[in-house]
Symmetry: C4
Subunit: 371 residues, 4 copies
Amino acid sequence: MTEIEIGRAKRARRAYSFDDVAVVPSRRTRDTDAVSLHWGIDASKFEIPVLAAPMDSVVSPTTAITIGKLGGVGVLNLEGLWTRYDNPEKVIASIRKLPEEDATREMQKIYAEPIKPHLIEQRLAEIREAGVPVAGALSPQRTVEFHDIVVKSGVDLFVIRGNTVSAEHVSPTGEPLNLKQFIYELDVPVIVGGAATYTAALHLMRTGAAGVLVGFGGGAASTTRTALGVEVPMATAVADVAGARRDYLDESGGRYVHVIADGGLGTSGDIVKAIAVGADAVMLGTALARATDTPGNGWHWGQEAYHAELPRGNRVWVGQVGPLSEVLHGPSRHANGHSNLMGALRKAMATTGYSDLKEFQRVEVVVDPTA
Amino acid sequence: MTEIEIGRAKRARRAYSFDDVAVVPSRRTRDTDAVSLHWGIDASKFEIPVLAAPMDSVVSPTTAITIGKLGGVGVLNLEGLWTRYDNPEKVIASIRKLPEEDATREMQKIYAEPIKPHLIEQRLAEIREAGVPVAGALSPQRTVEFHDIVVKSGVDLFVIRGNTVSAEHVSPTGEPLNLKQFIYELDVPVIVGGAATYTAALHLMRTGAAGVLVGFGGGAASTTRTALGVEVPMATAVADVAGARRDYLDESGGRYVHVIADGGLGTSGDIVKAIAVGADAVMLGTALARATDTPGNGWHWGQEAYHAELPRGNRVWVGQVGPLSEVLHGPSRHANGHSNLMGALRKAMATTGYSDLKEFQRVEVVVDPTA
Amino acid sequence: MTEIEIGRAKRARRAYSFDDVAVVPSRRTRDTDAVSLHWGIDASKFEIPVLAAPMDSVVSPTTAITIGKLGGVGVLNLEGLWTRYDNPEKVIASIRKLPEEDATREMQKIYAEPIKPHLIEQRLAEIREAGVPVAGALSPQRTVEFHDIVVKSGVDLFVIRGNTVSAEHVSPTGEPLNLKQFIYELDVPVIVGGAATYTAALHLMRTGAAGVLVGFGGGAASTTRTALGVEVPMATAVADVAGARRDYLDESGGRYVHVIADGGLGTSGDIVKAIAVGADAVMLGTALARATDTPGNGWHWGQEAYHAELPRGNRVWVGQVGPLSEVLHGPSRHANGHSNLMGALRKAMATTGYSDLKEFQRVEVVVDPTA
Amino acid sequence: MTEIEIGRAKRARRAYSFDDVAVVPSRRTRDTDAVSLHWGIDASKFEIPVLAAPMDSVVSPTTAITIGKLGGVGVLNLEGLWTRYDNPEKVIASIRKLPEEDATREMQKIYAEPIKPHLIEQRLAEIREAGVPVAGALSPQRTVEFHDIVVKSGVDLFVIRGNTVSAEHVSPTGEPLNLKQFIYELDVPVIVGGAATYTAALHLMRTGAAGVLVGFGGGAASTTRTALGVEVPMATAVADVAGARRDYLDESGGRYVHVIADGGLGTSGDIVKAIAVGADAVMLGTALARATDTPGNGWHWGQEAYHAELPRGNRVWVGQVGPLSEVLHGPSRHANGHSNLMGALRKAMATTGYSDLKEFQRVEVVVDPTA
């Protein structure tokens, strides 16, 4: 770790984003056919290492089913429009039409509608019936209130996702979520995050989580650096948390906690780099929001965009490239890294001579910030 | 300190601006309610660590009162329009309307009007009557001439502010301000600056100042780097002066001189970073000029903009986001770091696990210049 | 080699592109007349170190002849339009007219037409008859199928070119090309690549190749970094492969394998830098596509642009500057590094005091990424 | 000197441009009145350290007189339009009106007109009669041919200026200029350059030159980096040559050779930085071309722009700010560093506590490439 002196009373560390790095070929190449993208967490096995982010513009029960059939898993936001409204399609259509200047304010109102527990059950059931993996997400704040109904609904993966989730939340007023006890008592594998540092991730791993989300769910829909001054460039964050995975594997005598990059993954190249610096899988928001068959229909927003007091993201137009099947598996008609994401990952692995994801975490990487 | 060789006959030091750095979460998180933003300097206590910069586009007697009620302190420019004109509102309205190409020239004429001592008294009295903290600023050049009337008017904070203020000004012709003797004789706490280096700040601390301004009052309204080649990137400047605070605390046997970042603070993220690298409080110009109830009404300018011989800033349009109350305390309707500045600071501290400003100076920081 | 810690579980190396570096004058200067650009590989001798890239927008039999007469060598793409169509001019004209949004899709169709072996023979014969050096290129995938007919057609240089070509391709299904055996059996000098690292290049050298292409054929027509996350900045790649040349020279007891930079060479300045960091010659695509007498007529595209599943490049408009003679030898009417490429190389060598290409590989170089 | 590994076979050095650096205040400040800008070279004494560059868009006999009266010295280009045409004003007017696309080609024709020796004499006489310092420039190529007439005309300073001038020019055909002998035999102080490295400058100093120009005359009118790949970032070049000055001072037992920055000096901030890293004076092109009373009238071009074979610069529109008197001495009506250049230098020196140019070479400097 290179320490930098900012000034006499402050030292810092150099950190790297995906844009700062690139993957380098080795002396071997492979056929793309010979590359496997299989990934599994606990009992769940997936053909591709992709979780769709629990954002209303990306995952509806319908797209969760589509994504499941395409080999990944769609994580439904259990405190979004699908659990607040009986007929969320209409609400989403209205969000898409909001003029720029009113978008934040109007979304703040729309999301003020209370969450209906029966809708949580109903939406998850809809996905389960299609025979694909079922996954739902809550924020740490809502987990105590709604986890019973989620578990009862029979999820394969339970995601607890916030901007920053720590194993040690201090609250002088309420009773904060005791993650360790909570995860211990649950029957389903829990994925928890965002975490962004070695220490924070190590503590989350010790709570018994099956996976840790790395990042703030950033990217196109987030302005955390501008608004909060907070950021951990993703390449460094993933590589640090991969270090925590290795150390926790030793400390726990063999428990492998999955590292899932969540944020800053706008192109297939970014996905490649995330795995290359240590991720086991990726959680995609923007990259999938560009599909023609997602609810946002080219618009994209996250929880930060409708925060009641301090919005830190925007409803953004991310464009459209084709159906989810094309976005994930091609064939591609563009060279911008927006479609055939898995084909590109496969090609990058083949080009650099690797045959599975775990091996590919060892690929050589260079830093070239000016590219 | 890393020394860099520019060339055989010159060495330099790497310096960092706020844009180069970001704050990193720790393993703990907190409720935002559990975060305190209290700050105090000598006998004065404030709910938020904010001084409004003595610039005519930001602080009038009226906005000084508003800002005082919102928990901070507005510093009135005592050699600006409010002490040159009986009716400055009219003059300001005319400045706002100046066409781009004439702005500098016309402002040079407007500010040629002499300062009226009785207006200094009258403006400060107006603020005092509202029951909020009273603070006024003079340049070092004017301090000898007008300090008597300022002190007599009963200020809580006396600010001596110039582009660069040193404890050791050399003047072959006139009698320069002897800061040490001057501050000793005054009865009120004095904040003095800008200083930008460890040594310059240490010497200012030894004059008996209660606080030191760090920076050149830069940002949107200043072009010092282009015109003078002079700059000290703010993150390094604040961290250096925080180092001087620590060393002077020891040298003086316990006198804590406050470090106030002044310049480069355009967004809530910048304010977060200023505290994170060592500032006790911030002096805001641009960030407050965006309020709808400041005199500039979206226009902003500093003393540099109307310098008679060598203007080094411009009258700039900074846009508008809402009233001062919303700029400082929200709720925010935008995600650009321009409103709810204090909510953002609170959130950043909560997210990274800190509960008061002094603790937050220890938060971890990373460098990522390409972000 | 400076190793950088990306994060706890990943280290990387800093790499440099041509934009990051510049050449520095020494204490000597020379007349440009006193500079030689001669280059030779095996029995072939050339007046200038330029191979035209096997891209349909750059090399037709006609332009191969022109380039040969101008002192370089045009490498014909043997699996492009000239060997798929009897009358490719018509097809190329239609490609130039494709609207932006359909270009990739339509080119995917056009290039689906099968390759005709007799056209390979016919096109190469046409070049040979003009009395200039004959060179043709195949991808590794096609080499097994078509190399017989190529060799029979009597080429002076045989180029095997892919995005990444390794000496050790792993294919579970087909029988991959055994480069070593293949090159051994051939009678003509083989140039093979792209390679981008020391190790990959060293292994290619051991196959008996006469030259190694460095790069991915990148530049204007490629988006490999965005789509695949793969990149080796060119200055580092060339300098690394030049290191492999030096080490292989020793290991082989004197076999000098030529290093040919291929990609990122958009201006005469880039060509200068490629030689300066160790290249023996350059393969030019974009830089020649700007000539008025190339097939693309200002449009440019590579194999990546019409890949059936995963296009990683675009048909791009590169503009036009004059005939090939002017592009290569001037006189120049512009100062943008787009014409008189060889005059500029000569001038750069004269200015810095060098008289031949091999010596110029020792010129001093500086890094200034911000320029 | 930090050495960087570009790749296995190439090492380089990090170099810095003026944009990469900034000047830092010290603990002392001064009145601007207390600052001296005096500069002298041999018998010539100047009020300001400014030489106007020998470019036809900047220096005519008339502007040479104006600049002389303003305290600097205008160097007339003795192989430009004033010595090729009896009535150059008309020719210049036609250059200003050339359409963008024809400018280079037409200027190549205009400058093909032969140089008239009698005009050299006549132009220099015109300047001498006004009682200001007389200075003229030739390229190394023309020096042998015309130096007699120049010396006979009675110049105070003789400038030999080319893109790169070395003490050791190798020419297999002609007899190159033997600088050492030539300078020894001349009676006037010679300023020679550009040089850009320690070694090249040291050798030029040993020829007996009174001053060395550092740079390529770059800036707005030059595209050397793009066309030739050649560049030495100016802050490093000046600091290196200042190192040569120091070492030669010792080696020669006390001969102080002046270092004159020539290129990259577009703003007053750049001039400040040039002195700060070691220059004794500056040669200005672009910065003066913005004056309303220069021949270019807002247009600017150098020798590179009309090179017959390989133009490496353009005729560029640099804008206009006011008469030469305002550009050099103000008052300024803008904050962009384009006017009151000397006022800005004085202010920068006062702000950082320095009273003369030689002292100011010791001012502290920081590196912040992202600013």
